[in-house]
């Protein structure tokens, strides 16, 4: 009885020191904590400047805040339809038929069909609500021209809620696009009217000819 009592006390001591030996050993192990604001964590190279641990920096495919490259976008609205929480809002208007080009001036290929992408509509609105966005990457995977993609930006504090909506089409650009769309529409209507008039004239001529025959 007494023996078991002292055995318990001995066990309590040895088991504590066993654990403490590991705790003390880790004092001499490399520190893994990343001192975030002081250390630039945006890539493998920048993190190694001040940080000596074994964690890696952000990879190139990090899914941060979304960004749109206006020049590549064909306003096809596929990303809007793919988004499960509707954080993308797109409005578009008719524009001249163009082929979007990348930075080097080469025509952009549709990633799924491998044909040159054709732009027939211009953006009048492209808003991404990053307060709603859940950074799932579905829009990026669905975009045929690679216009919408994730950046490495992960700090999303803004002063007010309106700032959380990223607007990629400015009011000036919207005005130009709307104006051009109206012009195109007017041109199309003028063409239509001219065509109708031509047809009318042709008909009248036909009738006149018929009348002359009779």
């Amino acid at each position: 009885m007494m023996g078991a009592y002292f055995q318990n006390i001995k066990n309590g001591f040895t088991t504590v020191f066993e654990g403490m030996s590991i705790t003390f050993a880790t004092m001499f192990v490399r520190k893994e904590t990343v001192q975030y604001p002081e250390v630039d964590i945006t890539s493998n190279k920048t993190i190694a400047e001040k940080y000596k641990g074994s964690l890696m920096g952000m990879p190139d495919n990090y899914r941060g805040v979304l960004i749109l490259e206006n020049g590549l976008c064909t306003a096809c609205q596929i990303c809007q339809r793919t988004c499960p929480i509707d954080c993308i809002a797109i409005e578009n208007a008719k524009c001249d038929k163009t082929k979007p080009t990348d930075k080097d001036g080469k025509p952009v290929l549709n990633r799924f069909t491998q044909k040159e992408a054709i732009k027939t509509r211009a953006l009048t609105r492209f808003d991404i609500n990053i307060a709603k966005c859940m950074f799932c990457g579905l829009c990026e995977a669905a975009c045929p021209t690679g216009a919408i993609h994730h950046t490495k930006q992960f700090e999303m504090n803004r002063e007010c809620q309106e700032d959380l909506v990223l607007r990629f089409v400015s009011d000036g650009e919207k005005e130009i696009a709307v104006k051009r769309a109206e012009e195109i529409e007017a041109e199309a209507e003028a063409k239509k009217a001219a065509k109708a008039e031509k047809e009318k004239e042709a008909k009248e001529k036909e009738e006149q000819e018929k009348g002359a025959e009779e």
Binding site: G12, T15, G19, I22, Y62, T82, C83
Partner: protein, 375 residues
């Protein structure tokens, strides 16, 4: 005489903001002194209606939502849903072999990180904070590896219907092997730090005993069921993916420190499962073939009319997805069956007559995760 000495039970709230409830779970306790007379779990604080949301979004659009069902093991949730939909579409044989291997590697990695959190949190509830920090440090390495392949640290959306979203690089495979070599000794080290600690064993042993029959009656699943000595693992008994091709054991509770099915058994089953997962990943890294990682799937799929129930082994037991399709672009009904829920339902039974401090041990050993419980 007895009626004259009748004492009133004191009703107290434990939670929803109690540090040991792992999220927001509330227990209404009727206590007699320090002994719990009745324990009534109140769930639903984290209910987000994910099952209902599924009915209004596309089949592929629901995959990121499964990340949020259980964010401690998002890969396993992704896998369970995607395999269910593939089975419903009858395309489960078209999945490329390489994708299957990648899926098993990432889901076993996620099992390691999930069990690490579960073990660490159980230790933390018992008052030992150090092991939790050690495990979180190791978990960061797994998060780093996942970030490398899919760009996110917690809500991966990596496994998709038809395969995986992106191929893994050889760097990932070599770094995974490196991590396993680094992590295996650490499991034993942390065992020495806490699992074999006499004080910790005395605290966990013989608490909240769940006999095998009771575990089956209450429909416990996963490590909680195996902790009661029932050898049932879906990876072995109803194999899916490439699990028949890999060799691993199913650890079960044997009454290591006291009675079969106590808290310590459930705890140790998790520790041993980490070692089994390491074994599985090592074999997969050796066997992984080259080739495609995604079968051809339309951008908007319409599975045929019908229903399916498919279950996979996740760290918290078997997660089942019951999906009804009416041939449209979104599911007609989706029901998720999770291990945390059954773990929660046994608490009123086993918490009767224990100390309040032991209830914390019970929750820790059952590894209840609040978002998975409420969905």
């Amino acid at each position: 005489m007895t009626s004259a000495l009748k004492t009133e039970y004191l009703t107290i709230n434990m939670g929803p903001q109690h540090p040991s409830t792992h999220g927001v779970i509330r227990f209404i306790l009727k206590t007699d002194g320090e002994i719990i007379h009745e324990c009534d779990p109140d769930v639903g604080y984290l209910h987000r209606g994910i099952e209902k949301l599924a009915e209004s979004i596309t089949w592929q659009g629901f995959v990121p939502y499964t990340d949020r069902v259980d964010y401690v093991c998002a890969m396993n949730s992704n896998l369970a849903y995607c395999m269910a939909v593939e089975k419903l579409m009858g395309m489960d044989s078209e999945i490329p072999k390489r994708a299957e291997y990648i899926r098993v590697i990432v889901s076993e990695m996620n099992r390691i990180s999930s069990h690490a959190v579960a073990i660490g949190a159980a230790d933390m509830d018992m008052g030992a904070f150090t092991p939790f920090i050690h495990f979180l440090r190791e978990r960061e390495h797994i998060n780093d590896l996942f970030e490398m392949i899919c760009g996110a640290r917690l809500t991966y959306n990596y496994i998709c219907i038809g395969g995986v979203n992106a191929d893994v690089s050889p760097t990932f495979l070599s770094k995974t092997a490196e991590f396993l070599d680094h992590f295996e000794p650490i499991v034993e080290q942390i065992n020495r730090l806490i699992s074999y600690n006499q004080i910790f064993i005395k605290r966990f042993a013989d608490v909240a005993i769940v006999p095998p029959k009771m575990a089956i009656d209450y429909n416990l699943v996963g490590p909680n069921l195996r902790g009661s000595g029932v050898k049932f693992d879906i990876r072995k008994d109803k194999p899916y993916s490439i699990y028949p091709e890999v060799d691993f054991n199913v650890p079960i509770g044997t009454g290591r420190a006291g009675t079969l099915g106590d808290c310590y058994d459930r705890y140790m089953v998790r520790v041993e499962e980490i070692n089994e997962s390491i074994k599985i990943i090592r074999q997969c890294l050796k066997q992984i073939p080259d080739g495609e990682t995604k079968a051809i799937v339309k951008s908007s799929i319409k599975p045929p009319k019908g229903h399916i129930y498919f279950r996979t082994e996740t760290p918290r037991g078997d997660t089942g997805y019951f999906i009804v399709s009416d041939g449209k672009t979104s599911p007609a009904r989706l029901k998720i069956r999770t291990g945390s829920f059954t773990g929660m339902s046994i608490i009123p039974e086993i918490a009767r007559g224990v100390f309040i401090a032991d209830l914390v041990a019970i929750i820790g050993s059952l590894d209840v995760v609040a978002p998975e419980l409420d969905r």
